[in-house]
Each structure stands twice: as C-alpha cells, then as structure tokens.
C-alpha cells in the first residue's frame, strides 16, 4: 500500500469509529432533555428515573466519544499537514470555535448533570441537561460546518503563497451546503438514539423486566424515531440531494450508478456498478424517477458519469453507489417499521405485539449502519477532491510521514479500538442488564 492510501484509511477508520459514539450522544442528549422536561412538567418520578438510566448509558458513550475524538483534532496536522497548512486559516476557525464554545460547555456541566441531581434540585438539574444538549448540538454544527466547507468552499481567497485566506466569516457559517447537511446529520443522530431507546425498551418488554420503563422507552423511541426519520427524508435529504445535483453533479451520477446522460433518467433501486463496461449490472429501476426527484420533471436531463472527465469521477464509484443505496434502503425499511409501530402504539396494541417488539429490538444496528453509510457517501463522493474543486486529495497529505510510519500507527489504532469496543460492549450491556432503578428509590 502506498502512503496516501494508508493515510486515507487512517482517517477513515478513526473517524468512522469515533462517530459511532457522538451519533448516539447528540440524539440521546435531546431524548434525555425530553424525559427531564416530562419529569418537571408532570412531577412523576418515573421520568426522572428513566432519565437517570439513560444518563448512565450517555456517560459511557460520552467517554468513548471524548477519547476517540481527541485523535481527530490531531490528525488534521499529523496525517494531512499540507491540507492544514493551506486551509487552516479557514477551517481552523470552526475547529477552534468547537473547542472554545462546545467542549468547555459540555465538559463543565456534564459532571453536574451526572452527579448533581440531588444537590441541584429538579429545575437546576433540568438546566444542566439543557446545557449538555446545547453543547453537543453546537459541536455538531461547528464540525459539520467544517465538512460543509470542504464539500463546498465559500468565503475564501487564495493568498500570495497559495494558502487559503478567510474573507468572510459569515459565508463560512452560513454556507448554503451547511443548513441541510446539519439538519440531516442531527436528525440521523436522533434516529440512532431513538432506535437504541426503542430497542432497549423492547428488550425489557420481551424479557418481562422493567415493564413500566420498557413502555416509556418504546413509546418515546418510536415517536421521536418516526419524526426524525421523516425529517431525514424530507426536507433535509431532499435538500441535500439538490445541493449535490447542483454543486457536485458527478457525485450524484456515481451515487445513482448513472453511467450515461439521459433525459428521463431512471432511479436504480438495485444493481451492481460494472466499472469495466460502464454500466449497471442486474438493474432494477423505476423509469424516469431520478429526473423527477432531482428536477421535478419526468423528462429532465440528468448528467451521467460520461459527461465528466474520468479524472474528476469519485475514485471509488461502486463504494459511493453502495453506501448511498444502503443508507436509502435502511432508511426506507426504518420508516416502514416505525410507521407500523406508531400505528399500533396509537391503537394501544404495540406493547402486546411481540413480533413487532422483536423487530424493533433487532433493528438496533441499522441506524448506525445507515449513518455511517451516509457519511461514506458524502466523503468518498467528494473524492478525488479534498476541498471540492480546489485541492485534490494527494496534495493534502503529510508527504514527510512515510507509509511505514503511517501503517505503524494505523495498526496501533486498530488494536486499541478493538479493545475499546470490547470494553464498551461489556459495560453498556451491564448497565442495560442492571436496568433502571424503580422510580420510588430517588
């Protein structure tokens, strides 16, 4: 393997692993805030006890997010130094703001939230939950802003030595790419948290433990889950699709597996991109649907990969295609299951529907996979650019860090993260097994 490939794998692996944790904690921060609000409004200690249980799960995930997040902040410099030197004056802004505005806020009040319930009283404790929620959602905003700038650079000029210079702070923070991407990302996080909550609730109902908590978890998980899934599809997914069609048409062609430019282009549901013959094998398509979804016209022309020079194609078209289709496919399954579950909940029959509870429990990994696949679509779809249209990926790597040194640390991270995964599963399973304490024992 050449050094560039290893540096790319290094970042891809560490960021993919890292994002397994914030995607739960950001969404869970919202769900815990909802539980705390219900406790405050109703005065029912049951909701406070439910929030306390999820705070324990939150704490383990948060710790994992912190220890795997620090390497991300370092890797811009260690593995992508030429990118950092060129673009640091612009994206360093959002990264520094994340540290100053979000991380201090989260870390200062997380302790008070986790250990201060008795001392603070219900109102002040609710407020610490709000601050933790705000800190984590602001962190999400600033990091998505950084990525949005790499997808669609705005507000910069090129300086005397080729470095990129910030010219407009507001175009960095109000990047047209950013709005939909942020909503899409955060809704995805809420879907993960809702699915985990519903799955744990279903587990309790199916095993006959913690029945009352199980019902609360399933109810909240299903309701929040379906709301967030709808937001993912429309307007945020649709808005992001249009951004891609407008600003990265070659990425759209790769995502859809559209090799030739067509008027009334079909939407591929299944099929395997055949890079040797530039066609989709075994296609199952909806005729003209892609034209309609992209341009609201059944006859509109959609540019296929053949309209672009091959050196500007994403360097791994099948990966972009598959990850996009996995995301869409899982999202569709998710929406269908949650719609049925919400209907049964409305009819008051969900808690007795063992089959459906089984499905909710087994669905736990799906949103993790869908969120990860979505990010792979975005980041591999951005290739061959590191900063879209401005800097190609090979130009940004730390040229002086050799492949052997990079492989050494990649292997190190693989080993450490394997151990962390085992520890994490062990500790989270123990908390779920032990379950929430009864509401009376406040």
């Amino acid at each position: 393997m050449d050094a560039l490939t290893i540096h790319r794998l290094h970042f891809a692996f560490t960021v993919t692993f890292h994002y397994l944790f914030p995607q739960l904690t950001m969404g869970l921060a919202l769900l815990i805030l909802i539980l705390k609000t219900m406790a405050l409004r109703t005065g029912n200690p049951h909701y406070a006890s439910a929030a306390r249980f999820w705070a324990k799960i939150f704490a383990i995930n948060f710790a994992m997010g912190v220890v795997t997040g620090i390497p991300m902040e370092f890797q811009f410099g260690t593995n992508w130094s030429r990118f950092s030197k060129t673009a640091g004056g612009v994206i360093g802004q959002t990264l520094a703001m994340e540290g100053v505005f979000s991380f201090f806020l989260e870390s200062s009040f997380l302790g008070a939230f986790l250990f201060g319930e008795k001392r603070l009283g219900p109102k002040a404790h609710w407020f610490t939950a709000l601050l933790v929620f705000l800190g984590s959602w602001m962190s999400g905003f600033l990091i998505v802003a950084t990525d949005a700038w790499m997808q669609h650079p705005t507000g910069y000029a090129v300086g005397a030595h080729g470095e990129m210079v910030l010219t407009s702070f507001w175009s960095l923070l109000l990047n047209p790419w950013l709005g939909w991407q942020y909503i899409h990302t955060m809704a995805g996080s809420v879907v993960t948290a809702s699915a985990v909550m519903a799955a744990v609730g279903a587990f309790y109902l199916l095993t006959g433990n913690h029945q009352e908590h199980g019902r609360t978890f399933v109810r909240l998980g299903v309701i929040e889950g379906i709301l967030a899934t709808v937001v993912m599809l429309f307007p945020s997914g649709d808005g992001q699709g249009r951004n891609i069609a407008w600003h990265q048409p070659v990425t759209l062609a790769a995502m859809e597996g559209l090799f030739t430019t067509e008027q009334g282009a079909p939407l591929a549901i299944l099929g395997q991109p055949d890079m040797e013959h530039h066609r989709l094998d075994n296609p199952l398509v909806v005729p003209r649907a892609l034209s309609f979804l992209t341009y609201q016209s059944w006859k509109a022309e959609v540019k296929g990969l053949d309209s672009f020079p091959p050196q500007n194609w994403p360097d791994n078209v099948p990966l972009v295609y598959y990850s996009y289709h996995i995301m869409i496919g899982l999202g569709t399954i998710f929406l269908a299951v949650l719609a049925v579950a919400a209907f049964r909940l409305w009819r008051g029959a969900l808690y007795r529907s063992r089959g459906l509870l089984w499905v909710l429990m087994m669905m736990l990994p799906f949103p993790y996979i869908a969120n990860t696949a979505g990010w792979i679509t975005a980041e591999v779809g951005r290739q061959p650019w590191l900063i879209y249209g401005v800097m190609r990926t090979p130009a940004g790597v730390s040229a002086q860090v050799s492949s052997g040194n990079a492989l050494f640390t990649l292997i190190g991270f693989l080993g450490i993260y394997t151990i962390l995964s085992i520890l994490f599963l062990f500790l989270v399973y123990r908390e779920i097994e032990e379950g929430p304490e009864p509401a009376a024992a406040v």
């Binding site: 383990i60 710790a63 912190v66 220890v67 795997t68 620090i70 390497p71 902040e73 370092f74 811009f76 410099g77 260690t78 593995n79 130094s81 030429r82 950092s84 030197k85 060129t86 673009a87 640091g88 004056g89 612009v90 994206i91 360093g92 802004q93 990264l95 520094a96 703001m97 994340e98 540290g99 100053v100 505005f101 991380f103 201090f104 806020l105 870390s107 200062s108 997380l110 302790g111 008070a112 250990f115 001392r119 300086g159 470095e163 210079v165 910030l166 010219t167 730390s398 040229a399 860090v401 050799s402 040194n405 050494f408 640390t409 190190g412 450490i416 962390l420 520890l423 500790l427 123990r430």
Partner: protein, 345 residues
C-alpha cells in the same frame, strides 16, 4: 496581531499545564499517596469531576493554534508524528482508566485501571516534557517549513537529532518531577487524614528533585539554544519571569512545610506559569526554531494566518473565553472543599 495570538495560545497552553497538570500529577503520585482501594478511589475523586474540562484546554489550544498559526500546526504535528500518536494512545488509556474504573466492583478490575491511570499519567508527563525540549532545541526544518523526526538517533542534540536525546530526556524527567510536585500538592489540598499526610511528604521529597532538575535543565537549555541568551540580553526586563519562578518555587517549599495547602498549590501553579512564560519569552518571536539555518525557523509572522481571520477570531474568542472562565468558576465552586474517604463519585 500575530503577537496577540502568540500570547493567547501561550496562555491557553499555560492554563492546560496548570489544570491538567494536577490531574497528571495525581496520577503520578497515585500509588505513593494511596494504599487501599478506598484511598485510591478518593485520589481519583479529587480530579473526577474536573479532569475532562481540564483536558479540553489541550483541544482548545490545539484548535486555536490551528487557525491562528496553520503553518506551525501543520509542520509540528506531522514532524512529531510518532510521539504525538503515542500521546494520543496514552490519553485514550488515561481517559478510559479514569472513567471506567468505578463501573465494576471487582478486585481485579480496580488495580488494572489504577495502574493504567498511573502509568499513562507518568508517561504523558515525560512525553510532554520531551516535546517542550524538542521545541526549545529546534528541529531540522527544510525550505518548505517541514521536517520529520525519528524517535532517536545518537541521543545528542546535534544536527540530526531524534525526538529523544539527552537534553529532551532531561526535560521529560524534569516535567515528571514538576508535575508530581504539583499533583501531590493538589491531592494534599483536596484530601484529609493519611492521604493528606502522605501527599505532603511526597511533595516535600519531589520538591528537592524539582530544585535539582530545574537548575540542570536551565543550564542545559541556555547551552542548547543560544537564542534564549540573546532574547534575555536584548530585553533584560524579561529576567523578571525566571525570578518569579524561583520565588514561587521557594514559596512552595515554605508553604508546604507550614501546611498552607491552598497557597502551596497556587504557588506551584505560579511556578509552572512563570517557567513556561520564561521559555516562551526566550523563544519569541520564534515559534519553532530551526536547528540549522536560523532563517528557516518558523516565526509568528511566517506561520500565522491572514489578518482578517485573526481579527474576526478575536471577536468570538474573547466572549468565548469569558464564558469558559464562568464555567470553570462554577465547576470549581461546586467542587470546593475536601473529598472524604466515604464519599463515592
């Protein structure tokens, strides 16, 4: 403008060393001040609610360095690739050790994480000290402002140095002693009974080590990096910083002897700040010296971002830091006083 950001980043690093320094120090002295499982739990609970916030100073300083001096961030992080990755691994081990220790009640679980906490803290202190040593000594920068250092070469700070040579190892050991002192004073300040007595004793022993090592390191630094001599000669008022450091170190000894624990800890913090400011002053306006041609050094002018970004940065940075100060006042106020043996985090 570059000068303002230079000192702002320096202040953030000083804050990091003072705050996370006592966390590291608590880890270094962990096995020396606490014998039983309950005592070790107490030592951990002296940093439990605050260590995470303290570590954010490293992230925030790194982020600020990134946007204010992108060329320095890019050059140093890639040049110090191997040791930085090891620092990351140790930070992971340390964070996990602190957070996961109290999740399982078992006589094999506790010592495992206590050892992880102590070893990672000690190694991190040595690594950070060696990093500081590398910055003072200088690195072989090329024309594009890049370099890559192997872990070691011939162990001398010559023209082709490694990360580790006798000078940077000396710096690492010195920082280990300094943070052991700082951490012992913190533990003494936050605890009672046996642990408090032992921590005071560890502090007074560490103090002698610090005295010897800091003197050795200072002499060595002036020999290894002639720029320091030149800076203090050009601006003699800068001698005030090393003198404050000496005074603070003497105050630490007196106050620890009198068992004025809070004052001793604050004096140790002042000592850390004054030492770091002395070094920073000695290197200014250089941010990463070249060990060969001085013209290749990274300075605040050739490593900084463009003026617009630095101006706009100040607009959000100042309120951001005021908010942070408010959070810290809140966090430390609600955590005031001694931590008891029976109290569980």
């Amino acid at each position: 403008m570059e000068t303002i950001w230079f000192w702002l980043v320096a202040c953030m690093l000083v804050a990091y060393v003072i705050f996370d320094g006592f966390d590291f120090g608590a880890g270094i002295v962990h096995f020396f001040v606490a014998r039983t499982n309950d005592e070790r739990r107490v030592v951990l609970s002296t940093i439990g609610p605050v260590w995470d916030g303290n570590e954010v100073w490293l992230l925030a300083a790194g982020g600020t360095l990134y946007f204010a001096f992108p060329a320095l961030y890019a050059s140093s992080f890639s040049g110090f690739y191997l040791p930085l990755m090891m620092v990351l691994w140790l930070l992971i081990l340390r964070g996990v050790s602190i957070e996961f220790r109290n999740h399982v009640e078992s006589s094999v679980w506790y010592p495992l994480w206590d050892a992880g906490f102590a070893i990672s803290s000690a190694l991190l202190a040595i690594f950070f000290g060696a990093a500081l040593g590398n910055v003072v000594r200088g690195v072989p920068l090329d024309r594009s402002g890049e370099f890559f250092l192997p872990l070691w070469t011939d162990w001398t700070p010559g023209q082709s140095p490694g990360i580790l040579d006798w000078y940077t190892v000396l710096a690492g050991v010195t920082v280990l002693a300094v943070l052991a002192l700082h951490g012992a004073l913190w533990v003494a300040f936050k605890t009672t009974g046996e642990i408090e007595v032992r921590a005071c004793r560890v502090a007074s022993r560490a103090w002698w080590g610090v005295l010897v090592l800091v003197n050795l390191l200072t002499v060595a630094s002036f020999r290894v990096q002639p720029r320091l001599q030149a800076s203090f000669a050009a601006r003699p008022w800068g001698w005030v910083f090393p003198f404050v450091a000496i005074a603070a170190l003497l105050m630490v000894a007196v106050m620890n002897y009198r068992v004025w624990e809070r004052a001793a800890f604050l004096a140790s913090s002042l000592f850390l700040a004054a030492m770091l400011v002395s070094v920073t002053f000695g290197l200014y306006p250089c941010v990463l010296p070249s060990n060969g041609d001085p013209a290749l050094s990274l300075t605040i002018t050739n490593a900084s971002a463009a003026p617009y970004g630095l101006h706009i940065g100040l607009v959000w940075f100042i309120p951001g830091m005021l908010l942070t100060a408010a959070y810290f006042v809140y966090a430390y106020r609600s955590f005031a006083g001694k931590v008891g043996v029976e109290e569980r985090t």
